[in-house]
């Protein structure tokens, strides 16, 4: 692993090089990039690396980076860099090379100087955060995106049902959400495997997929039983399948896992998807369960404990705050639905206060925010941290709940969720302090591509 300290005289608190496994090659790149970009773009002396002779000694290394297409290289100068990986940097520079974050440099005293650089690859902005990640994005809502010929389609991958031409992806991207967990719609008890995809790029799975099989999607409550009726006479369609009640939903859920356990020891009882359920019980695939109301959250927690499912979160868990003891005991994660001003959220009439996130934080519960893919500007993910802060949550915890927390929950924190060297260059550029009602997302960088340019009127 490359170390800045050994190669330069830069103090560790000015250069963030959080070690992430498998990033040795990035380390070399970052040196090249810093040397190349900082010396190239006439960064003020107080921001420059300080080590005399650095420019000269590394200029040869810098050549390959300089040879890459101009569009693949950015230098972002910001008054505030909120990395979600430590203390914020006042006055920071982020170097982006070939779609990755190549260097992050902070100036503890702040950067008062204004560069008069007219380099088109240098962007100045007030604040930068990591691209936001939405685990409950609900961009896939069409009922044809989930296989309803069975109520536990656990082996089905939603990735084959995605419509990357849907305008919702771009809407999320431009509002600062750079990756989402795409889950099947909740018409089944278990609708199949979710995947993490970027919200921009070429409209094909290959270009957008970050992680396949990132979670198994389940759903409690009324949605998976909605429209179902007991069979009368000859069944004519899939609405006559079980379950018609919450009890039926829970029964399907439990039966599936018991069958998977039985299949482990008896090959004759094996069935399609048993391997997925077994992987969930081993903790290799997390489980994401929609559960808005108290009784559904309790059911999810009881199932987590019964089948010893290591990684599970309740999605849209409006009323999770009502069961603090169970949350702590079960170590279940929580993804909030969008907050509302009267507290009423969701079709089932859940109640959620602004203070709920602060309570989760104090309990040590792992939680994340979601915008549910809404068209409503006021309900998007970028607005959720501010509402939680209104309820008492501190800024850093609010930031993490929109970035690194969801990245960790979905197992993509090796690439996404924070501003660290070697991670994907998915960045949100803000006009002011992030999340504040007076601040706006003015720029978005995705995979190193400037998809929303703060220098242009939008």
């Amino acid at each position: 692993m490359f170390s800045f300290k050994s190669a330069t005289a830069v103090s560790p608190n000015r250069v963030l090089n959080h070690s992430t496994s498998g990033m040795a090659h990035i380390g070399v790149l970052s040196l090249a990039a810093i040397a190349g970009s900082l010396s190239y773009h006439s960064i003020p002396a107080k921001l420059a690396l300080g080590a005399s002779g650095l420019d000269a000694s590394t200029s040869a290394v810098a050549e390959p980076a300089a040879a890459t297409p101009a569009a693949q290289k950015w230098l972002i100068r910001a008054d505030e860099v909120h990395t979600a990986a430590g203390a914020p940097l006042r006055g920071g520079v982020i170097s982006v090379v070939n779609g990755k974050i190549a260097a992050v440099v902070g100036a503890p005293g702040g950067d008062d100087s204004k560069s008069d650089s007219d380099d088109e690859n240098t962007i100045e902005v007030f604040a930068v955060t990591p691209g936001m990640i939405d685990l409950g994005a609900r961009l896939v809502t069409h009922p044809d995106a989930v296989e309803q010929s069975t109520e536990a389609a656990v082996w089905m991958r939603v990735s084959d049902s995605l419509d990357f031409f849907h305008t919702g992806w771009d809407r999320e991207l431009r509002s600062g959400v750079t990756a989402v967990l795409a889950s099947p719609p909740d018409n089944d008890v278990m609708g199949g495997l979710s995947c993490v995809v970027k919200t921009g790029g070429a409209p094909e799975l290959e270009a957008r997929l970050v992680k396949q099989d990132a979670a198994l999607r389940g759903s409690m409550g009324t949605q998976p039983s909605m429209g179902n009726t007991p069979a009368s006479g000859t069944p004519q369609n899939f609405y006559v399948r079980r379950p018609a009640t919450r009890m039926g939903v829970e029964w399907i859920f439990r039966k599936s896992f018991y069958d998977a356990i039985a299949a482990q020891s008896d090959p004759e009882r094996d069935f399609e998807g048993a391997d997925v359920l077994q992987a969930v019980m081993r903790g290799e695939i997390p489980m994401s369960v929609q559960a808005w109301l108290t009784q559904d959250i309790r059911t999810a927690i009881f199932l987590k404990e019964e089948f010893k499912i290591p990684h599970m979160w309740v999605d849209a868990a409006a009323e999770a705050w009502k069961e603090p003891d169970l949350l702590v005991r079960s170590k279940i994660g929580v993804v909030f639905p969008p907050f509302s001003f009267n507290g009423r959220v969701g079709r089932e009439g859940g109640f959620l206060t602004f203070g709920a996130a602060k309570e989760m934080h104090e309990l040590g519960v792992n939680f994340a925010f979601s915008g549910h893919g809404t068209r409503d500007v006021a309900g998007r993910l970028a607005q959720q941290p501010a509402l939680a802060m209104r309820g008492g949550l501190n800024f850093q915890a609010a930031l993490r709940a929109a970035t690194i927390n969801p990245a960790r929950m979905a197992g993509v924190d090796d690439r996404l969720g924070s501003i660290e060297v070697g991670k994907d260059a998915d960045l949100v550029l803000w006009s002011g302090r992030p999340f504040l009602p007076t601040s706006r997302v003015v720029g978005v960088i995705l995979n190193g591509e400037l998809v929303l340019d703060p220098r242009k009127d939008s």
Partner: protein
């Protein structure tokens, strides 16, 4: 049949060419059933023969060109207008509407559309009236694998091909609420399982002996269809492809053709522009008419609307004739005015690409099947 003909000018005997010292480009025809002289023979937009002649023998084109010597015994008819190849419509359910998709199961690859073909149905008379002499009978897209398409003549009951494509649907319409698959992802999985088993006509498609015709209209459906075709090394055409011009890289990389339309006034402009983009990307194009739900006349209207948005005249014409014949696997029989091909042709009042031109008479296998009355 010949006796029934009532053309503009009848039976003008042309002096037989007896001079053997003519240049070698001059074609000599000693025997034929009849010949037709037209002011303009429209081979294609870049090839219009002035005062050309078409010679028909035993239902086939014996010769076509400007310099043809024919024996004096051969009757010659004159047409003061244009003559072109008969049109080829690449997608219809004519004469079988409710019979073209069985619907009892999601996959019925052994079903053959040819058995739904009723040659005497009035749908074909309408097609002939529009200058269409060859038609693809294809499923309506409501089943995942609905069977094997057929290519038929619109007159005379002839079947050109009873195994033109394996008809597949990856459009939303193939998803039902009373049988699996019910979802886009489920459809891909279901289809892949059928191909993994590779039985019967599915195996033929897999082996490259039977092209596929995949219904996919929305862009995400087209994405899935192209991925499936590429993964399973299939060749054939995408039926629908409404805005596939916006995915033209993927389309051309897949090698799949596009069967587009029908279009009408008010059709999404993006769909028309998409056709132009597909041409630029080199994707072979043909028009579907979806008769009898749509008028067969919609094919010429579709080509005119695409022309208006920038489609080349060559592409607009070949989409109704030669390229269509290629996609239907009957290019050796129809789609071009060339020696040896079926004598399927249309006499027009003017340029066939102009909507103001009328179909005056239609001929299939050298026999008149429509028009002729002035």
């Amino acid at each position: 049949m010949i006796a029934e003909i009532a053309l503009v000018a009848l039976a003008t005997v042309v002096p037989g060419g007896s001079n053997t010292n003519e240049p070698s480009t001059r074609v000599r025809v000693q025997s034929a059933d009849f010949a037709l002289k037209a002011d303009k023979i429209f081979i294609g937009p870049h090839e219009v023969i002035e005062n050309g002649m078409l010679v028909v023998e035993e239902g086939k084109i014996r010769a076509v060109g400007a310099d043809i010597d024919i024996a004096s015994t051969i009757p010659v008819f004159e047409h003061e207008g244009w003559l072109s190849a008969g049109l080829v419509a690449s997608h219809s359910q004519s004469g079988g509407r409710s019979e073209v998709t069985d619907g009892t199961r999601a996959a019925l690859p052994a079903a053959k559309l040819v058995h739904a073909f009723n040659p005497d149905h009035s749908d074909f008379e309408k097609a002939r009236r529009s200058g269409i002499t060859t038609m693809l009978l294809a499923p309506d897209g409501s089943d995942v694998i609905a069977g094997v398409t057929a290519v038929v003549k619109t007159g005379g009951g002839q079947v050109l091909s009873d195994s033109a494509h394996l008809g597949i649907s990856m459009q939303t319409r193939a998803l039902h609420y009373d049988r699996a698959p019910t979802s886009w992802g489920g459809l891909v999985e279901f289809l892949q399982a059928e191909f993994d088993a590779g039985l019967g006509n599915v195996g033929e498609a897999q082996a490259g002996r039977l092209p596929v015709l995949i219904e996919a209209w929305e862009r995400h459906e087209v994405s899935r269809a192209l991925a499936f075709a590429t993964k399973n090394k299939l060749s054939g055409a995408i039926r629908g492809a409404t805005r596939a011009g916006e995915q033209s890289d993927a389309m051309s990389a897949s090698g799949m053709a596009a069967i587009v339309g029908p279009f009408r006034p008010g059709s999404d402009l993006r769909a028309l522009k998409s056709v132009v983009l597909l041409e630029k990307a080199g994707v072979p194009l043909a028009f579907g008419v979806d008769a009898p739900g749509n008028s067969p006349d919609s094919m010429r209207l579709s080509s005119a609307l695409c022309l208006r948005e920038g489609l080349s005249r060559v592409a607009a014409w070949s989409a109704m004739t030669s390229t269509a014949a290629d996609l239907l696997g009957v290019e050796k029989r129809v789609g071009r005015l060339e020696r040896g091909r079926d004598a399927d042709f249309v006499l027009w009042s003017g340029d066939p690409l102009e909507l103001s031109s009328r179909v005056l008479s239609v001929w299939i296998d050298g026999a008149q099947v429509h028009g002729g009355q002035q």
